[in-house]
Subunit: 273 residues, 2 copies
């Protein structure tokens, strides 16, 4: 995950960016969290209360990730170098541990799993961990399919659009063709927020979360990352049930929660997949 | 971070293991969280309420991390390969971006920053990112000192001991010489807990955290990692103020919180540094 997808969106070069957010085996995609932090809560800037974000989540998509080993080598003993995106190693480490000795085989990180296949194609002693689709795109054979630790290995992607100032951040999602299928009925909405609390103020995080609990709003995920505004200061990312942009009960709980925070941002409300 | 430090402790080969837990620039050390998960909440095992852990935290230590570039090369243009632990890349990426082109220089992950120096020593086109101490140990020159993005880059380590069943998990810390200094007065205690809530039960996480808030116990950190017990099920790690093992007010709040959880474990109470 490099900042390119968000950059292209913010520059108007595309209408949507699809970014990985969380993998069922390997957890949060911290690269995505940290790029969002740099956009929304830019390090070096001062706290300024409620933040109107330049982009917003409009959709979530679950994609099964069936990693494969792709190589032009005909025998595993020929492989001296493995290539993949850093997020993938932890999803396939059972297979790697069973077939490669760390002493003999180097592991190299690439910008994407697809890029790994492009590099492995030029290296007769190289193999890439990537999707079966990348085998077709780069014309590199699949040596072993489905090498993920877990058979149900899945990555949740979020679809971002630019925030529309006309709609004060409301998630207008104009192209129904982008939905997974026309007959999929989605009823429940969720929202994503990021915030920073005063890191030396006891109870500030609890007070923020308590506003949700007292309004019977379920948290569905919580993550923290260094804020870049001094050691041991964090950006928290939470997801919760309900529409923080259009449901008054939710948005007033959010407003109360935000009062405990130095910075607070609603990154979007969207139908749960 | 490999499981070796915990393995050696549990096998009785050492009395203490010092493991990295969190870096001020790069956030949680997920390797440590996931090894703890495999020890405490072993994937494949069924939930069994309160868990008596086989190990416990007895101390926290903050260590300034001054990364250096170590190489036998005499000019950066000779460097074709960079070696370090995966946790370190994000702490030095400003320096790397300024001095190395990703197209020309490969990045290779190693088991530790010290191991990276051992490998770089044998590679005339290699350079390692590691501490100045590793320069002495492996006899590899420091090309550039202090290349961390942040001048105050610090890693918080936790010191683990085996849990003493005689003391029902209480943190008896027998060797005062291990304390940072005899004249350092430590007064505040903190505790570390891990737990799993039913992932399809709305509000279970909030209900758990709320027990702390209602007892005026401040949360000081919260992290989540995939539990390994099915997709989208998490192990949560929380740290909070107070002594969960010896302070009745704290331990009764903890007992109420644990009732909301499928699995709950106090990993130790220790003086805050």
């Amino acid at each position: 995950m490099n900042p390119g997808a968000f950059d292209a969106l913010l520059k108007g070069e595309c209408d949507y960016s699809v970014v990985p957010f969380e993998n069922s085996t390997n957890g949060s995609v911290v690269f995505t969290f940290d790029i969002l932090r740099d956009i929304i809560h830019a390090p070096g800037t001062k706290s300024n209360g409620n933040i109107a974000p330049p982009l917003q989540v409009v959709e979530e998509v679950f994609v099964p990730i069936n990693h494969c080993l792709l190589t032009t080598a005909t025998d595993l003993s020929q492989v001296k170098r493995l290539y993949t995106h850093p997020q993938a190693w932890g999803q396939v480490d059972h297979y790697l541990a069973a077939h490669f000795s760390p002493a003999d085989v180097e592991r190299l990180d690439t910008d994407s799993t697809s890029a790994a296949v492009g590099i492995a194609k030029t290296d007769p002693e190289g193999a890439a961990i990537a999707s079966s689709a990348a085998s077709v795109v780069h014309d590199v054979p699949i040596f072993q399919a489905n090498i993920s630790n877990k058979k149900d290995n899945t990555t949740r992607f979020l679809v971002f659009a630019r925030a529309d100032p006309q709609h004060a951040g409301s998630a207008v999602y104009p192209d129904p063709a982008l939905h997974v299928a026309a007959d999929v009925k989605r009823e429940k909405k969720g929202s994503l927020a990021s915030f920073i609390v005063q890191n030396d103020k006891p109870g500030a995080l609890c007070a923020t979360l308590q506003e949700f609990a007292q309004s019977n709003i379920s948290l569905t995920s919580i993550n923290s990352r260094p804020s870049g505004k001094g050691a041991w200061s964090y950006v928290f990312y939470i997801e919760f049930e309900g529409d923080a942009l259009h449901d008054n009960a939710v948005s007033s709980a959010v407003a109360r929660a935000a009062k405990n925070c130095l910075e607070f941002c609603i990154l979007g409300s969207f139908y749960r997949a």
